[in-house]
């Protein structure tokens, strides 16, 4: 017990000294579990997050946009892979993690349970959803766990590129025909509040945050990140000539920040609880992909085993 305490104290001191924790280092079990949960949720979010955007690959309105969108969704699959790998360095098994997603045991970012009915949603997701994700991820580039931090550095670079693409889509629409501009405004109306909810509950309703902050897994509170995001995003909305759907929004000279209206947390919790428009659709899409892929994965394994056996036989024959 004392030894454990000492280890924990040393671990805290190590983290406080801004050192990175690596897979083989000793770490508190709760640190490990928190990270596995967080990283795997993050991985699941990348994978499920492919779906709302993939919905527009076949309908993208120009070849250039089609290529960019497909590449972006593909990048998200790649991010999922980095993150599953990062979680595996903590002893988690990818198959178990995927099972947890498919059985509904594990969560993913509830933002992906909103539908993408129009092309402008692709712009709004890039600008707002990726923007909110980046605010979080930039912070996570400095997270205390080494592999997670390094995965985030890679991911952040690509995400910034995606965000610029999204903003550019909206810019084109905002400068386009009246119908296009309306499409952009509608998308902003639908995505604004859900994007703010991406940062999670307010700090006074976020009981686990303190420990994560202490371990330097997180380095900023939900409310801090949300305020940063708003402050950065409002001028961008103004530049687009679009109206943020919040009548209470205004610059507070004294605080040096934007004040904003009250978030409808009831909706947030409904979506988290599985009642978003697309919760069932998203989970089923993943379940079906997995089920329909079963025979393919079996074939790949069987072939690999056959090949290994053939090689072994050749080796022993030689």
């Amino acid at each position: 017990m004392t030894k454990e305490m000492n280890l924990e104290e040393r671990f805290q001191a190590y983290v406080d000294g801004e050192n990175k924790v690596e897979p083989k280092d000793w770490m508190p079990e709760k640190y490990r579990k928190t990270l596995i949960r967080q990283i795997s949720q993050h991985a699941h979010s990348e994978v499920v997050g492919m779906l709302p955007e993939a919905n527009w690959i076949t309908r993208a309105p120009s070849l250039r946009r089609k290529v960019a969108l497909l590449a972006k969704v593909q990048d998200e699959a790649g991010h999922g892979l980095y993150l599953y790998s990062a979680a595996e360095t903590l002893g988690a098994d990818r198959m178990d993690m995927v099972d947890d997603l498919l059985t509904g045991k594990a969560k993913y970012s509830s933002i992906f349970n909103y539908p993408t009915p129009t092309w402008a949603d692709i712009g709004a997701i890039g600008w707002l959803v990726d923007g909110a994700a980046i605010a979080n991820q930039v912070m996570l580039c400095r997270t205390s766990y080494g592999p997670y931090s390094r995965a985030m550095v890679r991911i952040c670079k690509e995400e910034s590129f995606h965000q610029r693409q999204g903003y550019e889509i909206l810019m084109t629409l905002a400068q386009g025909t009246p119908e296009q501009k309306q499409m952009a405004q509608d998308a902003l109306n639908r995505w604004w509040w859900p994007s703010l909810m991406m940062f999670g509950p307010t700090d006074d309703n976020s009981p686990n945050s303190a420990q994560s902050m202490k371990w330097k897994i997180k380095r900023k509170s939900n409310d801090e990140l949300r305020q940063e995001f708003i402050d950065k995003t409002i001028p961008q909305a103004e530049y687009l000539g679009l109206t943020v759907p919040d009548p209470d929004l205004k610059w507070n000279e004294e605080r040096g920040h934007y004040d904003f209206g009250t978030i409808d947390w009831a909706e947030f919790y409904q979506v988290i609880k599985g009642n978003g428009k697309c919760n069932k659709q998203r989970l089923r899409a993943r379940q079906e992909a997995h089920a329909k892929g079963e025979w393919v994965r079996e074939a790949a394994n069987a072939y690999a085993e056959k090949q290994a056996a053939r090689k072994a036989k050749e080796g022993s024959a030689a």
Binding site: V47, M50, L51, A54, I57, T58, R59, A60, P61, S62, L63, R64, R65, K66, V67, L70, A71, V73, Q74, A77, G78, G80, L81, W119, I169, T172, L173, G176, T177, E179, Q180, A285, E288, A289, H290, K292, G293, E294, W295, V296, R297, E298, A299, A300, A302, Y303, K306
Partner: protein
């Protein structure tokens, strides 16, 4: 000659476009995340080639034609892709076998197109051949993996092969446009490609323990704009937004 070169360009461009479109349907729904990425890569390459070819076609048309106008605003009868690429994706086995049959053709085709007397096509072939070489390797490896995997995967691959076979003949049938442009040194001699294709396909099928179907009656018409019932739905989805706002830029 001018009209023939345009149609020839569109045949190549539409093959790339429609196959890219079909493969794009898989994105987010692949059997393994790594293979979802791999198939998206091929789709991306196909769409990249489609862009080069549509740009070339647009330049040949002149006026205010653009790559997007070429890609999105033609009626079905003016799409010149082969029927094989417009067929439904089916399961992963069918998608892979279709890809293998097409990639192998495409590899020998673009290898020959490197010697085209049309500088632009030659240039496009130079840019595309490395990608296509990789595609052909990848899909051949997967055909072997499925054919020589489990009993189920073998059966699925063989069924796909049997179903798809009748759609491969069109790849090699020379029509007046092929002949005229071949005489100019612009087009590829499909009869030569067939010999190479046969050899490679036989080799891979043998490694995959799959049986080559008999060369029976072959379907045709896609190159000339006579399509199956599948293409209409592909186009309805692909064209919806550009048709809705034909004057908009995106």
């Amino acid at each position: 000659m001018k009209a023939q070169l345009l149609e020839y360009t569109l045949r190549l461009g539409d093959n790339a476009l429609i196959l890219g479109q079909r493969l794009g349907e898989w994105c987010g729904h692949g059997p393994i995340l790594e293979q979802d990425i791999a198939l998206s890569n091929i789709a991306l390459d196909q769409l990249g080639q489609a862009r080069m070819l549509m740009q070339y076609a647009a330049e040949q048309k002149g006026g205010d034609y653009t790559e997007d106008k070429m890609a999105f605003l033609r009626p079905e009868t003016e799409y010149h892709n082969c029927l094989l690429v417009e067929l439904e994706n089916g399961d992963w086995g069918k998608t892979i076998v279709r890809q293998f049959l097409f990639d192998t053709y495409n590899y020998f085709f673009y290898s020959a197109l490197l010697n085209s007397t049309d500088n632009r096509l030659k240039e496009i072939a130079h840019k595309a051949i490395k990608e296509i070489t990789y595609h052909a390797q990848w899909s051949a490896e997967w055909v072997i993996r499925l054919g020589d995997g489990t009993e189920e995967s073998h059966q699925r691959a063989q069924t796909a092969l049997n179903d798809l076979w009748e759609w491969t003949g069109e790849l090699f049938s020379m029509d007046a446009i092929d002949e005229a442009l071949l005489a100019e040194g612009i087009a590829v001699n499909l009869t030569d490609i067939k010999v190479q294709w046969d050899q490679k396909v036989n080799e891979i099928l043998s490694l995959a323990t799959l049986e080559r179907p008999e060369d029976g009656w072959m379907q045709s018409g896609g190159k000339q704009g006579e399509h199956s019932e599948y293409l209409g739905y592909v186009l309805a989805v692909m064209q919806h937004l550009p048709r809705m706002y034909p004057e908009a830029t995106w």
